[in-house]
């Protein structure tokens, strides 16, 4: 269309002012240049309107404005964070003051790709998706968990074996919170001052059972992140009869002499 307009104007001008050559009347290309310019101005104007009125204009559909606003927010957020907290990767002053098992755990978590942010007297550890995964405060490493039983505090020198459904249908969360975390923050087996979660590529119940027995015999903290008293976690039909794998794990622990402690969310040996 633009080409047609150019050609039309060229011939129109030429025929009306036939004493001169077409080249001397070559002013009209400025029209063709002005078109994209005005288009750009329109876009710029839309962006400005979008930024100014984002909150009230329902401009979510305007992807350009949205991108600009999101970019501006992230810049502001980063500047705020730079101003108030110390974003570190293994070398902050709090991190340097860590010692012993806590220091080893911290180094391991940083090596897994977590980013440390020091805020007041707390070291916060974020995964690569910027989700808070763990905190170190008062010489304690605590893994954040929003499902049944809440956060999981580590005990120095002991592994914490984490039991539960992969995808907790009652309280949300489940072991997937750790297994599907983009950064591997656990081990399968002994992990002093850290989490021990079952993750094996050739899963069978006998191997699962061996993991339960070994964890129990090693003296791991036996921590449940799904409710082990709920029939729907224990039985396949949610009532009775055939057990789920979590139900079988509970049975194994009870056979080993462990008893459920609802205050600690742990199976303990009396």
């Amino acid at each position: 269309m633009k080409l047609f307009l150019q050609l039309f104007l060229l011939f129109f001008t030429w025929f009306n002012l036939s004493a001169t050559t077409a080249f001397s009347k070559f002013a009209f290309p400025s029209y063709s240049l002005s078109f994209p310019k005005s288009n750009n101005q329109k876009i710029e104007s839309e962006v400005k309107i979008g930024v100014c009125n984002f909150a009230r204009s329902g401009i979510y559909e305007n992807s350009i404005s949205q991108k600009v606003v999101l970019w501006e927010s992230s810049v502001l957020e980063n500047r705020a964070r730079e101003g108030n907290v110390n974003v570190v990767r293994g070398a902050g002053s709090l991190a340097q003051s860590l010692t012993g098992a806590l220091k080893s755990s911290y180094n391991k978590l940083i090596a897994s790709g977590l980013n440390a942010v020091e805020e007041a007297n707390v070291i916060k550890l974020f995964n690569t998706e910027n989700k808070l995964v763990a905190e170190i405060a008062n010489s304690k490493l605590v893994f954040k968990y929003s499902g049944y039983s809440g956060d999981i505090a580590m005990v120095e020198g002991k592994s914490t074996a984490v039991f539960g459904r992969f995808n907790d249908p009652i309280h949300g969360g489940g072991t997937k919170e750790f297994i599907q975390n983009p950064n591997k923050v656990y081990e399968t087996g002994a992990n002093p001052n850290g989490i021990n979660i079952l993750n094996i590529q050739d899963w069978t119940w006998p191997k699962n059972e061996t993991w339960v027995i070994e964890s129990a015999n090693r003296g791991d903290i036996i921590r449940f992140i799904s409710d082990p008293t709920s029939p729907s976690n224990i039985f396949k039909n949610g009532i009775n009869g055939e057990r789920t794998v979590t139900g079988l794990e509970i049975q194994t622990l009870e056979t080993l002499g462990f008893v459920w402690n609802p205050n600690k969310f742990q199976y303990i040996k009396p």
Partner: protein, 72 residues
């Protein structure tokens, strides 16, 4: 996705459903489950026995271990 899984889909499911079933199984391969991905994919296909409805009934997966246990 292995050839074995692809062949299993071709043998067990109606030809119209092949692409759909493959897309579901690909999702299994995209995530970590605490068990083998191949193992879980094959268990889902075996339990479904050619039925898309049955296959979909396992989603969302509550515990992949229960699925493998049931399939074995």
């Amino acid at each position: 996705m292995t050839t074995e899984i692809q062949n299993y889909i071709k043998v067990k499911f109606h030809s119209d459903a092949h692409n759909f079933v493959q897309s579901i199984i690909e999702k299994v391969y995209e995530n970590e489950w605490g068990v083998g991905k191949e193992q879980l994919a094959m268990s889902l296909l075996k339990l479904s026995n050619g039925s898309i409805d049955k296959l979909l009934s396992y989603f969302p997966i509550i515990d992949p271990r229960d699925i493998i246990m049931e399939a074995s």
